[in-house]
Symmetry: C2
Subunit: 399 residues, 2 copies
């Protein structure tokens, strides 16, 4: 848990933005934003829960399911008056909806006719949540504040950076575990298992947390599609794969991707890897406070463009604290049109993956903007790793 | 992948329900429903994607992000005419929304003025998705079909049952790994790591898949709140904990929870465990085809009520195929008011967890309704496990 002063400061920053946006009441559905403001981290977001911020109140109010209320009391700084539970018969019911209960609470505390910010495009704030809310609060005015708290999270505190560096140490171990495990005759799921073990064991000094996206490790032609996970197929000589994973410490993430092969990689993969490596170098040389997010992408595009390559997807995105289903923060992206000026202690997943129709290469870094440049939060060789093939393999004969 | 005939049958069943509900077009946002109909399982649901079912078309249409399209082509039975990709600049943008793209496609294929079913209360169909859809299709009529496909999934095929039994084998191994790992001086995260390792390694015959909820293993007073995960605190003599996990095979789940202690458990935990065990026996004796879901809960309540205990939350829910953030199917629950009549090959997580303000007990089973009763999908001792304390523990001196 962070010091109470840090939570108070975060809440103040959120309230400042609420005033700027003309919002009296803010309803938070995004578990990352709830955690950011209160330390609440339970896996209870699969049922509806809402955190209410009003300009007047010094604490957020959590409204959620009965069986989760004691977890809020035990793990956050909220007092008992700011923890309100709805009965279990609201859960996944056809007759009742938890947001009806939330609307009643807002009415009881005199907030029914205010301007209310809602996270319109956040998973967990469903279309039906909004319909029920409008129905229950006919005199309220609603405003989309999907990224209001996310924008407050953009610049990290020193303690947050420390957490992300720990996450960086964890992902180094997890990637090493994957490299060590991949071999002819080994099943894809065994590599995923080795990654999980390293991610959650963490280091002797600190334990690991679950990551908001599972390991993604498509092989061969499936590397053209980065979000495929794994099967129980056995690796064969000449297979190549991309491995995109993260380390997590207390919900803070450091993602990383690498590309490897068993024995020699195909020529196109080798060549593309070199282009990506060179592009990363050029991009890292450029990144510093004061430059724009879109210009980072421009430098990258130029670096790979001279070899005839082109990446049609964004080059990266803000990263840090998160809950499933995404480890991105949904704020700033390295892509044309994003004019955000980079500032110290912003953190990004620099994501120079290139996916063609039958193969892909991913080599990525999690980076922090420093006072005069950029710092890597992980330390792991970037080159394509062509793993030597063992000459004696008991499994090979049985596969 | 299931046989094409099974997918065709599933799609037919969905269309039948569409006709019953007066829906011409069905938009699917729930990744479990997408997978059920097409085998698409990539972790791409963190950006907006929609599957379109029309009564006329023999295949669903997938509409999603450019970089994911080749994964759809490579892992599903959809042909290239049924895979439509939106450019990356729609992703998490303030200017553009993927659902605008979807609305345009629906207009192009002549479906803009139809009755369209949308999954109003599904994570991934956000409030903004619905607003953009209404804006883009002003002549359409919308209907809430949140559980239309889920209801089709309620009765499992034999192959689905086989998958769930495999998941059951995996969760047995994972629970055994947890029991073996918990000990004085061991950190909570190391137990979580042992669970993950067993979950993903699976068995020598088949590999494990990730589960839709992470391991939940609250200790001592935190057992009052079932959805807390883990920390890196070290276990001490006398600690007690609940462990709620699942095994997963090709996205099919078998959840299971158990309660254990290091050395002697507190008396109230021992006593409550016995009550829960007896309640489970009574409940299992009762469950069979033809009885109502609400009556299952009634039998349970009576069994524990005679000892003065009461459970305020539902006793269980339909389970099977799922994606994060939940392994429940959001259809049938064992609770008052649910009049669903049980039928063979329905599958449930029988969830007799009881949570009081300072402790809780969870002992659960995944069950299948058979032709004349009920079958457990896992085989694991149900009693409270009081793990003997080792006399020589090197870690103990350093903790």
């Amino acid at each position: 848990m962070f010091a109470l002063e840090e939570y108070t400061k975060r809440l103040e920053n959120v309230k400042k933005r609420m005033v700027e946006e003309g919002v009296d009441v803010l309803l938070i559905s995004n578990p990352s934003n709830m955690y950011y403001l209160t330390n609440y981290s339970a896996w209870s977001f699969y049922v509806h829960q809402i955190m209410v911020i009003t300009l007047e109140d010094a604490q957020p109010i959590w409204i959620g399911r009965q069986m989760d209320a004691s977890g809020v009391a035990k793990t956050t700084w909220l007092d008992e008056h700011h923890i309100i539970a709805y009965p279990d018969y609201f859960v996944q019911s056809k007759e009742r909806h938890p947001i009806d209960f939330v609307a009643n609470i807002l009415t009881e505390i005199g907030q029914s006719a205010r301007t209310i910010g809602v996270e319109m495009d956040v998973h967990y704030f469903t279309a039906l949540c909004y319909e029920r809310l409008k129905h229950g609060l006919p005199n309220a005015t609603f405003k989309d504040t999907s990224s209001l708290v996310n924008m407050v999270r953009l610049i990290k505190s020193n303690q947050e950076i420390k957490y992300m560096k720990r996450a960086g140490e964890i992902v180094e171990r997890a990637m090493r575990a994957a490299y060590d495990c991949v071999q002819i005759g080994v099943r894809e799921n065994e590599v995923a298992a080795a990654i999980y073990l390293a991610q959650i064991q963490g280091t002797p000094e600190f334990g690991g947390d679950y990551t908001s996206i599972v390991p993604m490790l498509p092989t061969n032609e499936n590397t053209s599609s980065p979000h495929l996970t794994w099967t129980d197929r056995k690796y064969k000589n000449g297979d190549f794969l991309t491995i995109e994973i993260a380390g997590a410490y207390k919900r803070y993430h450091a993602p990383m991707a690498r590309t490897m092969s068993i024995g020699n990689a195909p020529n196109e993969v080798k060549e593309l890897s070199k282009v990506v490596e060179e592009g990363i170098e050029a991009t890292l040389d450029f990144i510093k406070p004061g430059v724009k997010a879109c210009d980072v992408e421009r430098v990258w595009s130029k670096a790979i463009g001279k070899y005839g390559h082109r990446k049609s997807s964004r080059l990266g995105y803000s990263v840090g604290l998160s809950f499933p289903p995404d480890w991105g923060e949904h704020t700033v992206s390295f892509r044309p049109g994003d004019e955000t000026i980079l500032k110290p202690n912003m953190t990004f997943h620099l994501m120079p993956g290139i996916w063609y129709s039958d193969y892909g290469v991913e080599i990525t870094e999690t980076v922090r903007i420093t006072t005069d440049g950029v710092e890597l939060l992980t330390n792991f060789p970037r080159n394509l790793y062509e793993k030597p093939v063992l000459s004696i393999l008991p499994d090979e004969h049985t596969s």
